[in-house]
């Protein structure tokens, strides 16, 4: 069969093939513009804070930012591997190790919110209003289900510290300790289904409350304790470890995030009429 006849007979196939080739070419040509890459935690993304800040960043500095939202542990791992330029995380201990190990430079505090202990409104373990460490101890004694993210996120690490303070160094094998390995909202949902307790950041809880139209299965049982502060910091990745890191953009971003004007923008960010993050950058 001649080439012409072949084409004529398989017109559809030729058209389809050309389309495929075109799209493949477009995909290869895509994503080359220089952008700032950040690894951050689910709480900043799920609450919508980053979506709110991105256009302000673009307008102020011209920087285009892309982020992956994972737990703090994984976010720092991306930083260690040089896969991102900057991290925005919330676990002081892991962050200290990150900077001490030479992977990050010049960490800056950005904002805080707080952790809250959630439980069923009926409060079967009777911990309502207790200091948080005592509440943890009571939950363990009564073997009420404590649902944990167990994913090395900032929230998980804070929960482990509180448990340790309550005298429970290793809850791993305890049958009341439910380890989901999932994000904050999934974990709260599981705690709701199991009628258990869970430590959560307030931002995600407000989101959860809103999802349930103000009538959620879980409510705050303990809050306002000093040890429940949840500090967020921004850390540029060390360009000496990874020369590909866009350190100029990363530093500019850190400066911008801690600038009084942007701090006020963070203060203005509300979900369901409630302020989620409290700026506290050192000026």
């Amino acid at each position: 069969m001649s080439f012409k006849r072949f084409i004529g007979k398989h017109r559809m196939a030729v058209v389809a093939f050309t389309l495929v080739a075109l799209f493949a070419g477009a995909a290869i040509a895509a994503d080359v513009a220089p952008v700032l890459r950040m690894a951050t935690t689910t709480s900043t993304d799920n609450t919508g804070l980053l979506d709110y800040l991105a256009p302000i960043l673009k307008a102020d500095t011209g920087i285009e930012i892309q982020w992956v939202s994972v737990g703090t542990g994984k976010a720092l791992e991306y930083g260690r591997n040089g896969d991102v330029d900057v991290v925005l995380t919330h676990d002081p201990q892991q962050e200290k190790a990150f900077v001490d190990g030479g992977f990050g430079i010049d960490p800056k505090q950005v904002m805080f919110n707080d952790f809250v202990l959630l439980g069923p409104a009926s409060d079967p373990a009777g911990v309502k209003g207790k200091p948080v460490v005592e509440a943890m101890k009571t939950i363990a004694e009564k073997k009420a289900p404590l649902v944990s993210r167990a994913d090395k996120s900032g929230t998980h690490m804070a929960e482990l510290r509180l448990l340790k303070a309550a005298g429970i160094a290793d809850p791993d094998k305890e049958n009341w300790y439910v380890q989901t390995g999932q994000g904050m909202l999934d974990t709260i949902n599981i705690a709701g289904e199991r009628k258990g307790y869970a430590l959560a950041d307030r931002g995600t809880f407000i989101k959860y409350e809103a999802n349930h139209k103000g009538n959620p299965p879980l409510v705050i049982v303990v809050e306002g304790d000093d040890s429940m502060k949840n500090q967020y910091s921004v850390i540029p990745v060390n360009p000496e470890k990874h020369p590909n890191v866009k350190i100029g953009l990363a530093k500019q971003y850190a400066e911008w995030l801690t600038h009084p004007k942007v701090q006020r923008d963070i203060e203005k960010f509300k979900l369901e009429g409630k302020q989620l993050f409290f700026p506290n950058a050192k000026q």
Binding site: M12, D83, N189
Partner: protein, 231 residues
Amino acid sequence: MNYISDGFVQAIGLILSMDEETWSAVVVTVKLTMLSMSVTLALGLPLGFLLGYLDFPGKPVVRTVVDTLLALPTVVVGLLVYAFISNRGPLGGYGLLFSIRGMAIGQTILALPIVVALTASAIEGLDNRLKTTLATLGANGWRMAASCLMESRFALLVAAMTAYGRIVAEVGVSMMLGGNIKWHTRTITTAITLETGKGDFALGMALGILLLAMSFALNAALSFIRRRADA
């Protein structure tokens, strides 16, 4: 339980209004699928033909290996490819992580065994007299391959659609290698994961229905072409 019905209502709204964010996820999904499918077919059809057509020592072992790879878990592929294309890995300098190209590498590894295995089976299943006849008529290697592939085109279409199904439905590779970055690497499936994580089940359902609608349109188009070809 309202979110099931909410999902359907929202899906219709989503398809009709098609906001920028949803559209971006659709475009990324289409681009990624096109890229992965092109590479998978370009590599898989010749490899599958060779595996089905040739007789060589150790062929059963190769078949078994390919069949085993059909069961590759997406997260394992994601992890493996991450190790290679992470900045620390051997291919770190090419900026493949968190890009559509990087995701396509993972999806190709995922789908390639399907195309190779099903193509090989289709070629093996061809009537032996066809090969003899072609050889008698003096067909050389390329003509032989083209004729055999042409003869089994419907089986190959099934292979391609199965590979497409695996690619378009997976979330592990896209999440690990793409990072679910809004406007850039967020596909429909990673968007569903995100929305579910945010507790917005209805939007997740709506996106799922949208993805199925896209696949339905593709299958309907292929079935139309096939009927035209048969006529």
